[in-house]
C-alpha cells in the first residue's frame, strides 16, 4: 500500500513537472527570439491577459477532477457580466451589483450540479443546455447591444493597478489560486472531489454524499465564471452580449495542458495555472514574433493535441 502510494506519487510528480518545464522552455525560446518578450511590462501584460482564463480554469479543474465537464462557463460569464453592468446602469451601487452577479453565478452553477446529480443528465449535455439557455437570456437581456459601465470605482476592478505596477486582475487570479488550492489540498471537500473523480461508486460507498458534492463543485465553477465575467466587464468598460464565446474550450485546454486527466481523479491546480500561462505566453509570443494569426491557431491546436496524446500514454 505504502509502496503503491509512493510509486503513484512519483509518477504524478514526473507528469506534473512536464507542464512546468514546457513553460520554462517556451519562456526561454521566446526570450531569445523576441527582444520585446522579457520585459516587466510584457510579463505583467501577459499575466493580466491570462487572468480571465485562469479564473475560469480553476473552477473547471474541480469539475474535471470530479469526472465532469462544464461547457456553460463562458455563457455564465456573459450573463452575470451583463446583469452586473445592467444593475449598475439602472442606478444600483457597485457592491450590490457585484454581489448579485457573483450570487447569480453560484446559483447558475448549482443548477448545473442539480441537473447532473439529481437529474442524472450527462454533464456534457446538461451544461450544453444551460450554455444555450444563458446565451439566449443574455441576448434578450442586453437586446444584443453592449451595456456601458460608467461607475468609475467598478472600472478599477479589471483596469486598476496595485502600486501603479501590478494589474488588479493578476491579484484576483493569485487570490483565487490560493483559496482554490487550499480548498483542494487542505479540506475534506477537496479530497472528496478527487475521490468522486477517481471512482464515484467507491466514493459513495465510503460515505461521500455525491449529489450535494456535485452541486457544490459546479456551483464553485459558476461562481468563478461570474467573477471572471465581472473582471472582464470592468476591463472592457462594458458588458458584451457575446462575451466569452469559446472560453470553455480555453479553460479546458488550460486544465488539460496542466496535466489534469480528463477522466477525472488525477490532477492539480498549480498545473492549471501553468497551463493557462502556457496558452497566454504562446498567444503573446506569436503576436510579438508577427506570426500570421492563421498559423497561431494551428500552433495552439497542435500543442493541445500533443498534451492530450501524452496524457493518454500515461
Amino acid at each position: 500500500m505504502t509502496l503503491q502510494m509512493n510509486w503513484s506519487r512519483a509518477s504524478t510528480l514526473l507528469q506534473r513537472l512536464g507542464s512546468v518545464i514546457g513553460l520554462v522552455l517556451l519562456f526561454i525560446v521566446l526570450s531569445v527570439m523576441s527582444p520585446d518578450f522579457l520585459t516587466t511590462g510584457n510579463l505583467l501584460t501577459v499575466l493580466r491577459q491570462v487572468s480571465i482564463n485562469a479564473l475560469i480554469a480553476f473552477g473547471m479543474t474541480f469539475v474535471i477532477l470530479a469526472g465532469g465537464i462544464d461547457l456553460s462557463v463562458g455563457a455564465i460569464l456573459a450573463f452575470t457580466g451583463a446583469i452586473t453592468a445592467g444593475l449598475m446602469a439602472s442606478g444600483h451601487g457597485m457592491v450590490l451589483s457585484v454581489g448579485a452577479g457573483l450570487g447569480l453565478g453560484l446559483i447558475l452553477g448549482m443548477v448545473n450540479g442539480v441537473l447532473v446529480s439529481w437529474g442524472k443528465v450527462a454533464p456534457f449535455i446538461a451544461t450544453l443546455g444551460t450554455l444555450t439557455l444563458l446565451r439566449g437570456l443574455t441576448l434578450s437581456y442586453t437586446q444584443g447591444s453592449p451595456i456601458p459601465v460608467t461607475n468609475q470605482g467598478f472600472a478599477l476592478v479589471g483596469g486598476g493597478y496595485v502600486a501603479n505596477l501590478v494589474p488588479l486582475p493578476v491579484i484576483w487570479m493569485f487570490i483565487a489560486f490560493i483559496v482554490c488550492g487550499f480548498l483542494l489540498r487542505g479540506t475534506v471537500f477537496g479530497r472528496h472531489v478527487v475521490a468522486i473523480g477517481g471512482n464515484e461508486e467507491a466514493a459513495r460507498l465510503s460515505g461521500v454524499r455525491i449529489a450535494p458534492m456535485k452541486v457544490a463543485i459546479y456551483g464553485l465553477s459558476g461562481l468563478l465564471s461570474a467573477f471572471a465575467g465581472i473582471v472582464l466587464t470592468s476591463r472592457l468598460y462594458s458588458a458584451q452580449a457575446t462575451a466569452g464565446q469559446g472560453y470553455e474550450l480555453d479553460a479546458i485546454a488550460a486544465v488539460v495542458l496542466g496535466g489534469t486527466s480528463l477522466a477525472g481523479g488525477r490532477g492539480w491546480l498549480f498545473g492549471t495555472l501553468i497551463g493557462a500561462l502556457l496558452i497566454g505566453f504562446l498567444n503573446n509570443g506569436l503576436n510579438l514574433l508577427g506570426v500570421s494569426s492563421f498559423y497561431q491557431q494551428v500552433v495552439k491546436g497542435i500543442v493541445i493535441l500533443i498534451a492530450v496524446l501524452l496524457d493518454r500514454r500515461q
Binding site: 514526473l14 507542464s19 527570439m33 520585446d36 498567444n283 503576436n287 514574433l289 500533443i306 501524452l310
Partner: protein, 311 residues
C-alpha cells in the same frame, strides 16, 4: 519525463517553424523581426483586425500590406477573431512590441477605449479603421460613410420598386457602428417612401445565419419584394434562401466583396453598396506613415462608397 520533453520540444519547434513560415505568408520583411531587432530601422506599423473570417477584412489587410510594401514599412497583423477581450490582448502585445502606429479595426465600438488609452500612454498613436471607438480620442478615423450607404440602398430599391413594396432587413452584429449606421441610413430613407420594412432581424454579418434567418422570415412573410442585407455575406445567404423559390425578390447587399460583386454580375443580387476595403487599408497605412514622419493628418477620412448594379 518523456511527456515534458516532448511537449516542450514540440512547442519550441513549432514556434521556430512558424516564425519562418508565417512572415513568408504575409510580409517578406517580417522574417527579420523573428530574428531579433526591428528590421533595419524600418518603421513597424501594427494592424489589429477584428476578424479574418470575413473577406472584407482580408481585402482591407491586403490593401494595407500592399501600401506597406511600397512605402517601405513593416506591417504586423494581429487578429481578434471577433472577441473584444482578445483584441485588447493583441493591442497590448503590439504596444509591448513598440510599434510606431497602431491601425485598429475594432471588434466593437464600446470595448476598446481602454486599449486605445494604453497605446496613447505609451506614445503610440492609434488610427481606427472601418469602425470607431467610443470614449477615446484617436489620431484619425478612416471609414466609409455608412449612413450615406444605407440611404443609397434605400433609394435604389425605391426606384426599382416604384416606391412601393415590403422589405426584409438582415441586420449586422448588434452594437457595431456599421450595423447601426447602415440600418439608420436605410430605415430613415425608407420611411420617406411608400415602402415598408416588414421584418428585421440580426444575422450577424454571417452567411450561414443570413441563410437561416432569411428562410425563417420568408416563411413568415410571403408578400416580400426585396431583402436588404447590411453586408454581402448575409445577402448571399439570402440568395441561397431564395434559390428554388419561384419568387422575384430583389436582394441588395453592402460591402462589394468579390463574391458579392460576382452575384450582382450573375443577376442573383440586384445591387451592392460597394465599400473599398483595400482603399481603407491603403489609406490607413499611408496615414500611419505620415504620423511616423511627423506630418499632420485629418481627424476623419471618409472613403467613398458606390452602388454596383448589373450594367
Amino acid at each position: 519525463m518523456r511527456k515534458l520533453t516532448f511537449l516542450a520540444a514540440a512547442a519550441a519547434t513549432l514556434l521556430a517553424a512558424c516564425s519562418q513560415q508565417g512572415p513568408g505568408e504575409s510580409s517578406p520583411s517580417a522574417a527579420s523581426t523573428a530574428g531579433g531587432a526591428a528590421a533595419g530601422g524600418k518603421p513597424v506599423i501594427g494592424l489589429a483586425l477584428s476578424t479574418q473570417n470575413n473577406p472584407f477584412f482580408v481585402e482591407l489587410k491586403d490593401g494595407a500590406q500592399k501600401a506597406a510594401d511600397s512605402a517601405g514599412v513593416q506591417l504586423v497583423v494581429v487578429d481578434a477573431q471577433d472577441d473584444p477581450a482578445r483584441q485588447i490582448s493583441s493591442v497590448e502585445d503590439l504596444i509591448q512590441k513598440r510599434v510606431s502606429v497602431i491601425l485598429l479595426n475594432p471588434t466593437d465600438s464600446s470595448a476598446l477605449a481602454g486599449a486605445v488609452q494604453s497605446a496613447q500612454r505609451a506614445n503610440i498613436p492609434v488610427i481606427t479603421l472601418d469602425r470607431g471607438v467610443d470614449g477615446a480620442e484617436v489620431a484619425s478615423h478612416i471609414a466609409s460613410d455608412n449612413i450615406a450607404g444605407g440611404k443609397m440602398a434605400a433609394d435604389f430599391l425605391a426606384k426599382q420598386l416604384n416606391g412601393k413594396g415590403n422589405i426584409i432587413e438582415l441586420q449586422g452584429v448588434a452594437g457595431t457602428s456599421a450595423a447601426r449606421e447602415r440600418g439608420k441610413g436605410f430605415d430613415d430613407e425608407i420611411a420617406t417612401t411608400g415602402m415598408k420594412v416588414v421584418a428585421q432581424q440580426p444575422a450577424n454579418f454571417d452567411r450561414a445565419q443570413g441563410l437561416s434567418v432569411s428562410e425563417n422570415l420568408l416563411q413568415g412573410n410571403s408578400d416580400v419584394q426585396a431583402i436588404f442585407a447590411q453586408n454581402d455575406e448575409m445577402a448571399l445567404g439570402a440568395v441561397q434562401a431564395l434559390a428554388g423559390k419561384n419568387k422575384k425578390v430583389l436582394v441588395v447587399g453592402f460591402d462589394g466583396t468579390p463574391d458579392g460583386k460576382k452575384a450582382v454580375q450573375d443577376g442573383q443580387m440586384a445591387a451592392t453598396v460597394a465599400q473599398q476595403p483595400e482603399e481603407i487599408g491603403r489609406l490607413g497605412v499611408e496615414t500611419a506613415k505620415k504620423l511616423v514622419d511627423k506630418q499632420s493628418v485629418d481627424k476623419s477620412i471618409a472613403v467613398p462608397l458606390k452602388l454596383l448594379t448589373k450594367e
